[in-house]
């Protein structure tokens, strides 16, 4: 640097995170050399009682396994590649650049229900499609979640007629996203609400309230022909809402 130029003075300050520690008095936190020595003592087994406790409390964060697992599950939801109707167009958008669910770790859309955690029912479900959707949901491994996207899937929206069935009638839904269709942002919000639900609450919501845990379809070897179909309409009971 030329004489008379700008002088830059670098002051060595202890990092805030080290200063704030509970043991800032005994071990000089700003001195990395002493910390390194303490670590060596610890490994040798020379650190005892108070110093050992000090060492551990500075470096170890305790939590429960459930919380860690839930944290991980909430941040790596794999949605199923599955579209039903026009809502699926909006669903595709959330993996594209503008909404980009990869920011949260949900970009891995699995093509097999066996590898997926989340099924997004993006569109209207007809009576004939309902058993197929239910079979896909049953094929998913626990833990698994379901989002009902759009008005048709939740309340049948503009197609409230003889041909459709609401998703709540044949499978437990965790999050309902309203809209016709919902904007990608709305679906993103729904997925983030699901993350909150996974990470924070043991409450399984609808599944708990409706006793839906363990209601998965199981077909025994002696099931009669055609009994695998879930007929969501009761015969003759089409009198309507």
């Amino acid at each position: 640097m030329a004489p008379g130029g700008v002088r830059v003075e670098i002051k060595r300050e202890p990092l805030d995170i080290l200063k704030a520690g509970p043991g800032a008095g005994e071990i000089d936190a700003s001195d990395f050399r002493s910390r390194g020595l303490a670590a060596r003592d610890m490994l040798r087994g020379d650190l005892d009682d108070e110093a050992l406790e000090q060492y551990v409390s500075e470096r170890v964060l305790t939590t429960t396994l459930e919380r860690v697992v839930a944290w991980g599950q909430g941040n790596s939801i794999y949605p199923l590649t599955f579209g039903l109707a026009c809502c699926a167009i909006e669903m595709m958008t959330i993996v594209a650049a503008r909404a980009d669910i990869a920011r949260f770790g949900y970009e891995v859309l699995r093509a097999s229900p066996r590898q997926a955690d989340l099924i997004i029912l993006s569109g209207r479900v007809s009576i004939k499609m309902a058993p197929v959707v239910r079979r896909l949901y049953d094929q998913m491994l626990e833990p698994k979640w379901a989002i009902s996207m759009g008005a048709c899937c939740s309340s049948m929206g503009v197609f409230n007629n003889y041909a459709l069935v609401p998703a709540d009638k044949f499978m437990p839904i965790d999050v309902h996203v309203p809209g016709c269709p919902p904007r990608p942002e709305a679906l993103m919000h729904g997925i983030l609400r699901l993350r909150k639900k996974i990470q924070e609450g043991p409450d399984l919501g609808w599944r708990q309230r409706y006793g839906a845990i363990g209601t998965e379809e199981v077909i025994g070897p002696d099931a009669a022909e055609g009994s695998s179909a879930i007929n969501v309409f009761e015969g003759g009971d089409t009198a309507g809402a």
Binding site: S155, Y162, K169, T238, A239, A241
Partner: protein, 169 residues
Amino acid sequence: MPDATGLELTAQALREANADSVLGTVFFRGRAVIIANPPHVHEVLEHLKAQGYSFLASLHGVDYYPEEPRLGVLYELLDMKQVDRITVKARVHTDAPQIASAVDLWPGADHPEREVYDMFGVEFEGHPDLRRILMPEDYEGFPQRRDFPVGGEPVLFTYNEEKSYGKAQ
């Protein structure tokens, strides 16, 4: 389209073959319609096919409620050489909704006839595989009939979830 005279000539030819086969003709806004007697609709279609109307453009059902007979089966025929179209209508009662199948004339009538059966309950005699095509096979009723309720499910909200499915213990 045949003009009104052409329609009458066609109908006359059909009546000469079988006096009962044609109930009437309608010529409205350039469309020629032959109203066929349901028991003889197959003869009419066969005759028209031989005459040149060799393409079945559409086969569909109509419910004319409250008029009787209620159920209509409409055949839209096309003569691709003369570029000529003609419609054949046959109307049946809901009590006896039987009509001859046209699958032997046009194999493509298979799925349209299944759909008309599915939605309106018209039974096509001689159809090789007459079962529902769109609705589940164990569905009851014919949803496109006009006396069929629109249907739909009661929508589940928080205020009525207590009396909904799964909660009735």
